[in-house]
Homo-oligomer: 192 residues x 2
Amino acid sequence: MARWEPGARERLVVAAVDLFTEQGYDDTTVVQIAERAGVTKSTFFRHFADKREVLAAGQETLSRLLAEGIAEAAADASPLEAVALGLKRACGAMGQLNRDIGPRLKAAIAASAELQERAALKSVSMAAAITAALVARGVPEPMGQLAGELGVLAFKRGYARWSDAGHASADDMVRYTLAALDELREASAALG
Amino acid sequence: MARWEPGARERLVVAAVDLFTEQGYDDTTVVQIAERAGVTKSTFFRHFADKREVLAAGQETLSRLLAEGIAEAAADASPLEAVALGLKRACGAMGQLNRDIGPRLKAAIAASAELQERAALKSVSMAAAITAALVARGVPEPMGQLAGELGVLAFKRGYARWSDAGHASADDMVRYTLAALDELREASAALG
């Protein structure tokens, strides 16, 4: 197996999450993150606007992949079938690094109100991307919004299971997330 | 009809939302908000930790009322019937002031990334309050999460309709929100 060679961006994400966990988000500076990652401060700023934005790394890529997968669904696919294709595309792009930082990311977010806000905005952005892609297919707005929330819940449940698992391959992120979507679909039928 | 006598907290909310809309969130200071509201800076800080927290005014009350309404539902009520009771309780506590500031609040949020984050966290908190109240009734977690998202979507759609309407009474907030919940329930049956 080829040795994994992380680039500057990946090293910055790992360094930031480590420092947030070790010493707290508020006490971590951009200079410290850059030092730990072995890059200059200006390299940090080529990748991120500030330390909080490190948490949102990948948000735009995720939203774009979700939208692409949904757009490519067959014309007669149901909203949830289209969402499943979007999730498959987005989750399929996640690698071992995404899984490895899960527990530390979770701890850092739990300890910082500011990171909780950023995480909340990330969820809202993903839901909005799903909704917009569905509405573009002619799905009525309330249904598109609901499917957007379902997609984000499935993603979060899949990610939690994937990053908490003792052993898991990159492919398992897709499998866990689609299983979570099925579970939520069944739950929605029993809401009353 | 008795003259409406807003207290300091209400005046601070109106002043903040007006200033955010007129001159932008970033350029508005706590001193300006206090001056416009006709109170001292220390009065501001008795009510809010900072200018951003003005946006979250009422968040804890809303979450508490949602949870109370859900807890009081009959033991055999479905998850969505319980959510409807929570929404009825929370929306019933909203008054003309909440409706009046709607359009300006929307404009201020649209113009500020920081306010968008705070608004996202407010949605996440409301959904979590609904989910926790349902899980306490024995609803399985995925179903509780889904019902939490449905409740928040219904609240937002009801609020948008209420605050955009040319004429509406305080009672209409409950009516619009329960109608939105019904609409979302129907949409969920057709997700596929």
